[in-house]
């Protein structure tokens, strides 16, 4: 049986087929168990070298990738650079060439410019994994969101997911839109009109202008982090007003026709886009998302390195 492969890089979910997305999710399932073992390590990527190249600050995503790599026995190096490469003097293409010269196997890149992961992937032979590029995509975040939804609802097809908040600047929103729609979910976006991108309905999503509408409609809410600098850039009058008009609160959720699953990619602004009692409440899967993040990233690393989906049947390392 020939399973679909992922190709060389994972730059986003837009270029992937539904089968490729399912392959990653299915491969992640057995990797969940690895993290529950007393010795959380398999030899799948033994001897592989991976660079985590972070041009933007990140705690959660970087640590999640690093755990995924270490649990697969890869050798890893973290490079964290504040600001864009241009302001540092060295261009991204020079950075890429240097990495190439060091014969590393994989690069995980987080960068402030949309397209940076694809740019790197086109210029080096190593596998490139996008850990978030500008406002473009954050594919592993969407994959862990979808895996978490699948854990709870058993299937994605027909599910109604509302993505709430700053859609305009969100790579998480874009990757979720692609991934969910490809798997047959119905997707809505909800947020202030100033934070919705032009022509967003042409991506195959419904636009819901009010959070109350989203709560009436959805099976699950994916509540995005509101970047505080958006207020200073004039997109919003105040955080207080944002919470009053768009915040996901217990009072609003009480009017939902059914129990809503609550996702949030973190880090949260408690009391802004989400109230604490919702974030910590019984329908929140915010921490299971984090757990799933490691499994999904293990699956992506493993598949790009050329592993086959039935790794758990194998006894030794994979090369």
């Amino acid at each position: 049986m020939s399973a679909p492969s992922l190709g060389k890089d994972l730059v986003g979910l837009e270029p992937l087929s539904a089968d490729q997305i399912r392959l990653i999710l299915d491969t992640a399932e057995p990797f969940k168990e690895v993290s529950e073992r007393p010795i959380k390590k398999v030899p799948a990527l033994r001897g592989k070298t991976i660079v985590n190249l972070f041009f933007e600050p990140s705690t959660r995503t970087r640590i999640s990738f690093e755990f995924a790599e270490k649990r697969l026995s890869a050798d890893t190096v973290n490079v964290a650079t504040a600001g864009s490469s241009v302001s540092k003097g060295e261009t991204l293409v020079d950075t890429a060439r240097n990495l190439e010269a060091m014969r590393i196997d994989m690069v995980v890149i987080r960068h402030g410019s949309s397209g940076a992961a694809q740019f790197l992937g086109h210029r080096i032979r190593s596998n490139v994994i996008n850990a978030g590029d500008g406002k473009h995509e954050h594919p592993t975040q969407a994959l862990l969101d979808i895996l978490t939804l699948r854990d709870r609802f058993r299937k994605i097809e027909g599910l109604k997911v509302a993505i709430c908040g700053d859609i305009l600047h969100s790579r998480v929103a874009r990757s979720n839109i692609w991934g969910l729609t490809k798997l047959g979910a119905q997707v809505a976006v909800c947020g202030p009109a100033t934070l919705l991108p032009r022509n967003v309905h042409e991506l195959g999503v419904t636009v819901l202008p009010r959070i109350e509408d989203a709560i009436q409609w959805a099976d699950a809410l994916n509540v995005l982090r509101l970047q505080l600098e958006r207020m200073h850039a004039g997109f919003l009058p105040s955080l207080r007003e944002y919470n009053r008009v768009f915040g996901v609160t217990t009072e609003r959720l009480a009017k939902a026709p059914r129990d809503l699953l609550i996702l949030h990619p973190g880090p949260m602004n408690r009391g802004v886009e989400i109230d604490s009692d919702v974030a910590d409440g019984p329908h929140s899967v915010i921490l299971p998302q984090v757990t799933n993040g490691v499994a999904v990233r293990m699956a992506v690393l493993y598949l790009l390195a050329g592993g086959s989906p039935d790794w758990s049947q194998q006894t030794g390392g994979v090369d």
């Binding site: 241009v86 991204l92 949309s114 032009r198 042409e202």
Partner: protein
């Protein structure tokens, strides 16, 4: 200087409504005569133009030649040679050089560099404001005295409506147009491409069409207020075309230009973060492209210009957000215009010659654009059917930043004559230069 007799070509001169197969005699740097049986003057060079188009040399009102300041990208000489190879006998150089062309010495420098190069004519455009800072008017009188043919702060919009008003009023004294790069900087801030579905998918900050149209509307209102001549640079949107059409119906002194990339490509060209498709104004939507084509057909937009903007390959080899705007255009403009507009059924060859030669000469009040006896012997011989493939490596320009590499085009210049002298001859493949 040998006389040149161009024989048997289809001579197109929109200035006199000429379109006939005939001969053209150039002598002493001027057009001497048009017609059959002109005789062969002693020592004349004979050019066989059978199957070719003979037209007044093309004129590009909008190029960036990067000298002084960025001579690694382009020089007056290399730009003038690239122009000649593209069929242009004259180009107008924008003042966003380093230092800015905002004084008579800077204008004189470009004039002298162009004379030394001896290829296409290069007419400097002076800055509207000192240092293109948008505050204090440059000395238009001295700029014009040194050879400037227009003023513009191109690359930057004139943000202050007051400054634009005074520029339009003051320029009337000298009979020159004020050319404006129309862009509302607060709407365009941080934008990397057109705002639409593609920018949404790519996660790039978009520039809405309204950023251009707001300034087009303002400039039209100021042209009405002042009676000055405003020339709107590189129009790219359907809304701009509609505004210009209304202004023309009112008889205002509003002229405008459009670039081959805006009548050829759309924002889809930015897919894959291709930085050679990054320019300002950005590539727009199919409806905008259609509106630009229609405006070039009906004359709402007067002229085709290139906005030739050389950049080093390193500068384009980076993240889309950080790559500079602009593409080179001198050596592809004619081929794109013939392929897209003439073969595409939008305009005929005489209209093309009008948009690329006769009308540009009128808009900026330049010599040329005509084959009337006594006019400067600035002539282009075009092979309108020649198929060719764009290969930037063969360009005379020092830069290679074009989104058209590998594109198959029809039509190009075979011979460009300036002041009665051949400044460019296409060497046939595998052969010697044609006589």
């Amino acid at each position: 200087m040998r006389p040149i007799l161009i024989q048997g070509g289809r001579v197109i001169d929109p200035s006199r409504n000429t379109d006939e197969v005939t001969d053209l005699l150039l002598r002493d740097g001027k057009v001497e005569a048009l017609g059959r049986d002109l005789g062969t003057p002693d020592g004349a060079e004979l050019v066989d133009a059978a199957g070719k188009v003979v037209a007044p040399g093309l004129i590009d009102l909008h190029v960036h030649l990067r000298e002084p300041g960025q001579e690694d990208l382009e020089t007056v000489a290399s730009g003038a040679m690239a122009a000649a190879a593209g069929g242009f006998s004259a180009v107008c150089a924008m003042p966003n050089t380093d230092p800015v062309t905002d004084n008579q010495a800077a204008v004189g420098f470009i004039v002298s560099q162009a004379q030394r190069a001896g290829k296409a004519r290069v007419y400097p455009i002076g800055a509207i404001s000192l240092g293109q800072k948008g505050q204090q008017l440059a000395e238009f009188g001295e700029l014009v005295g040194a050879g400037a043919v227009a003023v513009s702060d191109d690359g930057k919009p004139v943000v202050s409506s007051h400054l634009m008003r005074t520029a339009l009023e003051y320029a009337r004294t000298f009979g020159i147009p004020v050319a404006d790069h129309c862009e509302d900087p607060t709407l365009a801030a941080g934008g990397a491409m057109h705002e639409g579905l593609v920018s949404t998918r790519l996660g790039l900050k978009g520039v809405p069409a309204a950023a251009e149209e707001i300034m087009v509307a303002r400039d039209i209102l100021l042209a009405e207020l002042t009676g000055g001549h405003v020339h709107l640079c590189h129009m790219s949107t359907r809304g701009s075309v509609e505004l210009i059409r209304r202004a023309r119906e009112k008889g205002l002194r509003v002229t405008s230009e459009a670039c081959p990339h805006h009548f050829t490509l759309t924002h889809e060209a930015c897919e894959g973060y291709d930085t050679n498709a990054k320019m300002n104004p950005p590539l727009r939507e199919p409806e905008d492209r259609e509106a630009i084509r229609e405006a070039l057909r009906d004359g709402t937009i007067d002229v085709i210009c290139t906005d030739h903007a050389p950049h080093h390959y390193d500068a384009k080899e980076r993240e889309f957000d950080d790559a500079p705007n602009g593409i080179i255009g001198l050596e592809t403009a004619l081929g794109l215009a013939i392929t897209e507009l003439v073969e595409g059924g939008v305009i005929d060859l005489p209209t093309l010659v009008a948009r690329m030669s006769t009308t540009p000469a009128r808009v900026f009040n330049l010599p040329g654009g005509t084959l009337a006896p006594g006019a400067p012997a600035d002539v282009v011989v075009i092979d309108p059917a020649a198929p060719w493939t764009v290969d930037a490596e063969t360009f005379y320009s020092k830069s290679r930043n074009t989104p058209f590499g590998g594109r198959e085009l029809r039509g190009r210049a075979d011979l460009t004559i300036v002041r009665g002298q051949a400044v460019f001859r296409r060497t046939p493949p595998g052969g010697r230069a044609s006589d």
